[in-house]
Amino acid sequence: MLIQVTVNTVVYEREVKENRTLLRFLREDLGLTGTKEGCGAGECGACTVFLNGKTVNSCMVLAVEADGGIVETIEGEAKKGVLSALQAAFEAHGAVQCGFCTAGMIMSARQLIHNNPRPTREEIQEGLEGNFCRCTGYEQIIEAILDVTGQLQEKEELEYV
């Protein structure tokens, strides 16, 4: 089936098999490998992208369902090589370790902030619940989001004895 999808403001027209997931379409047909596959079953959130303004697990969306739609992925987050405020906050707070969950995490963080410009710590945890991270323990990710939304009172630090 021929589909037309706008990804990060670029319009793509491609012939796809009807059983192709949006995730594989983005990664393999369009070469946008920033979005990752962590489980293929809609559990881990590594594949989170925006579809028509809403975050979805792209491994559980068919490419044909995105026909005529607008997709935003991690590759569209930085503009002209400049990190977004959210990306910069992640970098500054040590919120990236192996990086495999990072793309999906940024997408979910952006959705969260869009819905709620000043989320509480609990609301951040709630908003990121569908994005697994095995490396960071989430704490520095939460701090990055509190910071970028102007809510980080005191930066938590390592204590020395």
Binding site: E43, V96, I124, C133, E156
Partner: protein, 818 residues
Amino acid sequence: MYETLDRSVLKSVGKSEIRPDARVKLTGEATYVSDMVLPGMLYAQVKKSPHARAKILSIDTSKAEALPGVRAVLTGSELDYRLGLYIVDKYILAKGEVRHYGEAVAAVAAESLQIARKAVDLIEVEYEVLPPVLSHMDARKEGAPLVHPDLGSYQYVKEVFTPIPNTNIANWTKLRKGDVEQGFAESEYIVEREYDNPSVQHVPMETHVAIVSWGSGDKVTIYTSAQSPFTVRNLFCNTFSLPLSNVRVVIPHVGGGFGGKAGIHIEPLTACLSKKAGGRPVKFQASREEEFSLLPCRSALTYHIKTGVSKEGKILAQKMEMYWDAGAYADYAVNVTRASGYSASGPYEIPNAWVDAYTLYTNKPYGTAYRGFGHVEFHWGIERHMDLVAKTLGMDPVAFRKLNALREGSLTLTGEKITKHTGDVVACLDAVAASIGYGKLSKEERQRQKDTGWKIGKGVAILQKAPAMPSNTATACVVKMNSDGSVCVNVGLTDIGQGSSAALAQIVAERLGFSYDKVFVKIDKDTDSDPYDWQTVASKGLLMSGNACILACEDLLRKAYLVSSHVLKACVDDLAHDGEGVYVKHDCENRIAWSRIAIGYAYPDGQAIGGPLIGVGSYIAQGLSNLDKETGQGKPALDWTFGAHGIICEVNPKTGEYLIRKIASAFDVGKVINPQLLRGQIVGGMLQGLGTAMCEGYIFDMDGHLLNPSFTDNKIPTSKDIPFEIETIAVENSQIDGPYGARGVAEHPMISVAPALGNALSQAVGVDLVHMPIRSEDVWRAMGDKTPIDNWITKSPIGSCRSDLVHTREVASKHGID
């Protein structure tokens, strides 16, 4: 090295420098093997055994081979290669029999993933299903089916391991220190109990994946998501009898490892498919379900501990029996047994000790290295046991620990002496106990308890670990100066997310006196161009590679000074340097810029001296020795890192639901290289430890099928599962032979989280849990004195298949009275 330098004089070490790879990971530019596509690449899929133990009667691959787009099909009968890090016991594809659910019996490489999958479905395997041995405690018994009847004929590392032929014992590690029977005879109390934990999976976010091309002339290129490029190369060459220079291993960014990618796993099979497909690159990526069963996990453990204490509470003797469930293949499990064997008591002084640690084969997915290398598992037992002993004595658990903890002058289990510079576990314990207000409830806490009805409990646990590694472990570093005066650093240590590329850059920047942004540590690994490093495991990377980096800097400086002495017409001893260049100490205007000597120096008349400035540093573990096979005595430890956790939990006394209000974690790291990175490691490891404590664990049915091979029923902690408050604490007793005094701490944050929780729950509602994970149902059952659920191997649907299961093996007896 340079361990006496105070943080106030250090320019780069001790700062929260930004890691250099964060940006590309944030933008999606970072390439992982998962993302790679090579020209002509084929896709592999494997046929997996649905049975835990079966004879393979026949495999018919004809339909698969006939499917258009299929380029190679392999079964075990064509591959006569055996693999094994320590005991060579595994074929690349099952040959003649399958030994665990999910084991690969055939593989296909095809033009697309879809075709490969279809082809796998067309392969017909006929099995004769055999009764599996599932519980390691049953595998020990006389007459149990043998997982490896030919164990006696396998090659293995004789200096270190002791397999017992004609049994399911892949290894028996012994330790005999002093006289335990005498020690028990002198004890006032003897406390004995058994502790369990199930297998769990590493769950790296990126599953195992490799792309291998077996080119002409037997030149093999391996792209793999792995932790140890040289181990992959060396084991690969060993298996296929190839010269080392034939094989090139390349590792780009890695999406997590946690030990699961420490060795060699899917590369040999993928390579064989490529060879059969005429050398075309073949990519195999495990699905998440395959990650749980085809790829290895962490061994389960049953730990039986018997402790004798004096009236004053001093431990006089301890007998420790460890039964490790290695699953179907020995892989790293035998070494986990050994490393845990010599550390088995935790950070306590045990004058008379007896350890028997067994690695047992069972028909289940096999165990490999996992963060902590056995220490997460056995500290569950030890630290729950120490609380029990304290309770028996009527002594406060913190006071009991302090009385018996290792300190300056103590001897470890293997007879090593602890010095002032080994590290201070008591300082860590004191720090966490203070942080959680151990031993009392604050006014706020009392009020909250009253308002909610949930009981508050506080528990602590301490820990130790030394790197489990060969006594001759070595590594190297190359520091190359660029013509603009910046440096590029090559090490074999792999950054799998832990941030080694930042920490090592800071160490190089410090030693050279350069700014951090002038130092670039190459992130991807290539065995053709990077210097050897043993493995990225064991929390040895910072210490060993850090030292190698310092030595490489000093080599570079020596070479730079030699050229500079000619250029500046000064003697080498009168030279110094800074970020700009080399200068004469007593005449600092007389200087030469780095950029002018970085790739050789040209005199005004054109004559040239020197050449590209490249510093090389090699570092090998010093003063270590193998353990005596009978007594377990020796010097196995590069360094000891001690730590402690304190947990405040709140428990619903009716339902067993609980939450973790606060965790405080402290480690004696010697010297903090990067506070932010360290904090990230501590929190990440801590949460992984909570996962193992609260919700993770493999569940099998009585036929050995894995019942939870996906995230649906194999849960890991999410952002909502973190404690409300997290405190991370660093103690700094310098490691003299560590870079700037630092020692490793990569694994340690995960160790002892579980028993800290178990101890806190015990304090809150009086439950004495001896198995993991601790679900709310487990707390509820314990509160009501109901039969616990040993949920790893289920009857349909609950219960344990272990025939001699005795849950309450607690025997606390006053000596002389039965």
